[in-house]
């Protein structure tokens, strides 16, 4: 299945703005799509913009964290950007569900983070 969430390549970075009501199936399909694009393009960075998501539950959080981990195994650095305040508050209230993934306030800051020398 193809997730229908667009993944855009800008130089060495893949950018995806995740939209709308993300179902489990779409989230899983998106993970596969993104990793395939990573393999085909050889991109070194991934920016996941979640500013359009008003709900990130534990399942979606898990898919995001795993996607970043998988991308890292493939050699790319992932930054999650644009999390809404109410989403951040909900995730922290629930527990530590989005640890181990780099974050930035917006796409600009995310690009700046990707441009830093790799640790």
């Amino acid at each position: 299945m193809v997730s229908s969430i667009p993944v855009i390549r800008i130089r060495d970075t893949l950018l995806s703005a995740i939209q709308g009501d993300l179902s489990d199936r779409v989230a899983e399909a998106f993970q596969g799509d993104l990793l395939s694009r990573l393999e085909r393009t050889g991109a070194s960075g991934v920016l996941l913009d979640i500013s359009a998501l008003d709900i990130v539950d534990t399942y979606v959080a898990r898919v995001l964290v795993e996607t970043a981990q998988m991308a890292r195994l493939m050699g790319a650095h992932t930054v999650l950007v644009g999390m809404r305040p109410e989403v951040a508050a909900t995730l922290i209230t629930m527990g530590q569900v989005l640890t181990g993934i780099d974050t930035a306030l917006n796409v600009d800051d995310g690009l700046a983070l990707l441009a830093l020398p790799r640790r």
Partner: protein
């Protein structure tokens, strides 16, 4: 507590996770919940619907507008006839991870809502009731 409106939604596919939480979000917004409260109750709906689908093999979600002592709230009831939860205290403590979750589904959900009740019997099923209340004067 007065039930002003009630709507029973079946949980018999994965798509119902989105369907139920959308309904809950719309109700919470209509009741004047702020963005944080809307996200909290919608996320709780998402977790509990998925729980009923994945672990309870489906069931029913009842979305209700309730009133008590002049304040309005959203009450959600989830029924499933699944295997039940064997070790409820451990599950509620969190860290009971399965393939489909981070193990924070129930324990995390409990922290998002104002009221939380759970009854589970092995071989019979699980019934969960949660409620979130609007702040006083929230509704215009």
């Amino acid at each position: 507590m007065i039930v002003l409106e009630t709507c029973a939604l079946p949980i018999d596919s994965e798509d119902d996770v989105v369907r139920v939480r959308t309904r809950v979000r719309d109700l919470a917004q209509r009741l004047g919940f702020d963005a944080f409260a809307v996200a909290a109750i919608s996320t709780a709906a998402s977790e509990l619907t998925r729980n009923a689908w994945v672990h309870g093999h489906g069931g029913t979600a009842t979305v209700e507008e309730v009133e008590e002592g002049g304040r309005h709230g959203v009450r959600l009831q989830f029924h499933d006839a699944g295997p039940g939860i064997a070790d409820l205290p451990r599950v509620l403590k969190g860290g009971f991870s399965t393939r489909r979750s981070l193990g924070l589904g129930l324990s995390g959900t409990r922290r998002l809502v104002d009221d939380f009740e759970i009854e589970s019997q092995c071989g019979v099923g699980t019934h969960i009731v949660v409620a979130k209340w609007a702040r006083f004067g929230a509704r215009t």
